[in-house]
Symmetry: D2
Subunit: 366 residues, 4 copies
């Protein structure tokens, strides 16, 4: 188990889907930041189940409580305990699955790794584990916004084969994204995405998709070569999310088909700073932010738990037919949007703190 | 700077391209392993420049010396110091570039981050930094092979638009891969890849590509939820390599277009163990290995340093035309193959050690 | 802030003395261990205030709840959330001290470090923070006992100038220790210690003391050279406790006055194993356990918060006279005993896990 | 093995006493610091064997080479590789000890832990391992001095029963300390210490001692509660040194005999800042520096390797008489002085970097 991420802004999460609750400890949060539950709850609300017709009908309010680390509305610099109670337990839904590992789910691997697993609901591999991350990352978002004006916006880039053009990505706001339940600001494309999700759900099936994220106003200099490059830490953070299968930054996989002369981002003056004319680098060069928007995409597979019958074997190797009960998302990407944003914030703030540490020793710093 | 990777098998690298040398410290290597330079040199030879007509003509022998941690041919359990001297210095090649940051290179971001940068050759962002990784990872490979029979083979999946079918990936060996200079076992495709690289080079340009990697015989249970999932750590390791833009595991980005019913890997008995009929999961479920081959791909952009003239600005914002001198690879993927393999080994061995630690406490372990 | 200790058995604590509660996340606990609150509560009861006439009369039940990581009485291998609510708030007690930093307390340094501090009660520097540690360490104790038979017993070695002889330390049990309120098994000495504490309390003063701890049945081989030597990690753990001023292992400071010929622990056969005739090493040689009992001592200063009037200055530099109100321990060592034991357990289990990881790769391991 | 210390200023050491050499990688060193070998060599010279009649007559020049991370006399922010070759090999000296573990030495525990050990000279438990630390810590010293004016001076407080009064410790300089071979600024006491060491040596025996260290001009606010308290990290660092048995800060063990009213350090105005009238806290309260001098002591046992014959058993349990050959220090404290200083510097700079990171986010920072 390694449930802690970060070097200076450290987030440790805990909780399964059917224990008393889930949460996180945020250690290393700067002091004297104005903070209350109302800074955190909005991203949890965007993540919670039951928020629209295309998410699981499970209802959980997911109300966060700050347990420690804040007094009189200010962070103390001490660990911030964050807690969300679990309420809507229906472990019965999972009863049939005790002896049958769900295909492409973590049932089998948890059992192999630990010799035991949570009785229901996927345990730590459940999407519910991400609540602690979202709560912690929401704090990081606020600090990044206050100190640097950093703005992080993610949206659904594709559902199955249906994708949105990203020409105007620099102008998309969270309000734009939230205008559709599917979290895609292009209403026409969003309608088709909705349709695809509903069709999958009605077929007791599921569908995958891609989330795109842009981080604006990130100063140059963030990211620690060589193993903690900014893109390497973002990749780790995103691949640590349930159901992810890929990460790409800037030109990504498509960029491999270009020649260097077409791919290179030539420098140009942009007001007082030097910037790049194009952004195939996705805002990161040599693992360090260059001042351009950071752009990356995360691939989410179709959810493994589906109602359709599947031919598989149980833990004893007997052939069985599995039809999952329970209430599951037919597509995770709409709810993944705030998760991707808050994970990005967590990584960025940790890099910011590390960069400030070294920068304080620069001859030009005092 | 964070030049250390791993929790128990820890690798710390050091060295720029034009200092006295490059290398690594491997801390946490199990004791009593037979080890000599000859276990390490082969992967360094596959990585070194000047090995074929499609790599940089720079000649460096890159001979490794074990400085510590091995006595009488056995590892002591103490840190293994690995060192490779730098020899073929031509800093003059870089003179013109002192005041001009190369587009899409790390010159600009290192300067912004540190307020100073290596006088030439890209410093820590240079491919030369990977020598320490390859040397350290070669040790991991040997241990994984001896104890678990793990076999790691990577190859060039694509160069520009030219890609190889991966139907027979389960049978490819390193010997197959090394039969062509481009490191693709399909000779017909390899010839076309060679042609593409030579054309790019002759045009003073460069071209990108994708490396695919398979890790066979990995036991189930490796990988630490939630932030140190096996795929998350592989993603971090791969995105920490110079010139990488993306990582995907199993079905990857393409898998997002499938429905769950098509994507799910149904379980089946395979001899005495339970396996999966398909492998869209790429051998990892919930961040933990499931006993199937681990399969992933890494996207490498076209090298940034090209001889073609580029319109850009210098550090003072003046418009300039840059034509890089120096000797550079027109395409990095052939030499990236051993780097990807050894980085994968490093991650896998660290996961193996962590899994063995916990497993020792299982009721069924004694 | 760094509220996390351990490499594989990682404990992160959170909570101030006057927020909603205190607790810990235990990450990396082996799976399939039988565990319930009743394994943890006894050590919390030995730590809690109000347990005897020589501790603060503050009453807190300090009942622990396992929030996650355990199901059907077995650990899942996932993070174990531990929580104890704060109940007996009397922040009014601290009102006078808002503008006056208590001498030798952390009021001043927290304010300097964070620019803010908990309104009352010392925040994270409060003894209350140790609740999370004790709860987490109680889990480590159980695992060490089950798997290795490790037995950890600490006791009050001295209060002020009154100290106990340690000739029979190898036979002292927790039951022996708990026969006196002061936690010293020698009743005569214990009575004098009690008297000293009561005198200090009645004088509105406080008094210091030393806790000694022995860890029996620790196998040889635990501890990681060079920076994570077993004694180095114990020293860090103990000096991380509030009010500690020193740590010594084996012969300690007194050992510096001996010659090597008198200090050296000659080897001898002990049944089937090789042991040492004397134990000036305190069970650790070169940072690694040698199979003999691990013996160390921890110095605790007299508590800083006293009722006697003190001449000092406030945060603005004005001369003031401070007479602390509130309810405080006149001597911390009786309640420190279970804290020292559980911290030792935490360190030992982390070392055990690390040793098992490497040992699994030894040629003689399968 | 864990040969890395530090969170932001990370030092990893490597090397046994009889391999090719010893050294360290310093990762996270601030950039643009003027640095050359001449900044490092003086502390290595104070550490090296053969420097006076009371150290081992072994001659090693211990000349350091900076392998990477510095260019044109400035640090690049990249890892600094430090290397010192081993020259004066006499493994023959150790031949007799192959099958006999030296009492109170690490021979036995290394063998138990790793199932193998360095053929001679103690391997990683050798004092020679500290070369990498001293070299790395000398860099930290320079940075602390340049940026904060921090001044670190250690001296020999005692040899055996002979100790120096520490009344004037605030004025002792390194020059004062180095005026005697034994590194005690009081010449009369120093002469007696010399005599004690020579007597022990002539008796083929050894003797212990205590090193005291003061760190002046450390700003308030350094140290990270709760596990990385400044005194906790100093304790870990000091107990990680070979032959250490204890650590105490400020009043230390003696402080346990005082009452709070006598022990408390009342605040007082000191020029523009608030300081304390006494310094029983040793400059640290609640794990955080308070602006007063940091004062601590480290206990070193008498060296285990002595020429006197010792009755012991070999690895097979046979009774044997051991008379160590080889050339060993009869007392380690004179050479330990620079080691203690540089280890303290390493810990302090890491804390400084961490504090600067958080401080950059304080509302009053810009």
């Amino acid at each position: 188990m390694s449930s802690t991420l970060g070097t200076l802004f450290k987030v440790s999460t805990f909780g399964e889907s059917h224990c008393r609750g889930v949460g996180a400890i945020v250690d290393g949060c700067p002091s004297q930041v104005e903070l209350s539950e109302s800074d955190i709850q909005p991203q949890l609300d965007r993540r919670r189940p039951g928020q629209s017709i295309i998410t699981t009908p499970r209802q959980e309010k997911d109300e966060v409580t700050i347990m420690s680390g804040v007094e009189n509305g200010l962070t103390l610099g001490t660990p911030i305990g964050l807690f969300v109670a679990n309420r809507d337990h229906k472990p019965g839904d999972y009863k049939d699955m005790r002896s049958i590992p769900r295909p492409s789910h973590a049932d089998y691997t948890y059992q192999m790794k630990y010799g035991v697993r949570a009785a229901s609901g996927g345990g730590r591999s459940s999407a519910r584990e991400t609540i602690g991350r979202v709560a912690a990352g929401a704090i990081a978002e606020k600090i990044l916004r206050l100190k640097y004006g950093v703005e992080i916006v993610a949206w659904v880039h594709s559902v199955g084969e249906i994708s949105v053009s990203t020409d105007n990505d620099q102008e998309i706001s969270r309000a734009d994204v939230d205008m559709t339940d599917v979290r895609c600001s292009d209403r026409t494309v969003a309608d088709r995405m909705m349709q695809a999700i509903i069709e999958a759900r009605d077929a007791k099936d599921s569908v995958g998709g891609i989330v795109e994220c842009v981080c604006r106003n990130v100063p140059s200099g963030w990211g620690e070569p060589v193993f903690d490059k900014l893109d390497a830490k973002l990749a780790q953070a995103m691949l640590s999310l349930p159901a992810t299968k890929g990460f790409e930054v800037g030109s990504g996989f498509a960029g491999t088909t270009l020649r260097g002369s077409a791919h290179n981002d030539a420098f140009a003056t942009k007001g007082k700073r030097i910037g790049t004319r194009t952004n195939n680098s996705g805002g990161i060069q040599g693992g360090i932010s260059n001042g351009e928007p950071i752009v990356f995409r995360v691939a989410f597979k179709p959810p493994a738990t589906i109602g359709l019958s599947q031919e598989t074997v149980d833990f004893d190797g007997n052939h069985v037919t599995l039809e999952a009960k329970g209430r599951h998302d037919p597509c995770v990407v709409p709810r993944a949007v705030p998760i991707v944003e808050t994970m990005a914030a967590m990584v960025l703030l940790d890099c910011a703190l590390r960069q400030e540490a070294g920068a304080a020793f620069r001859p030009d710093s005092n």
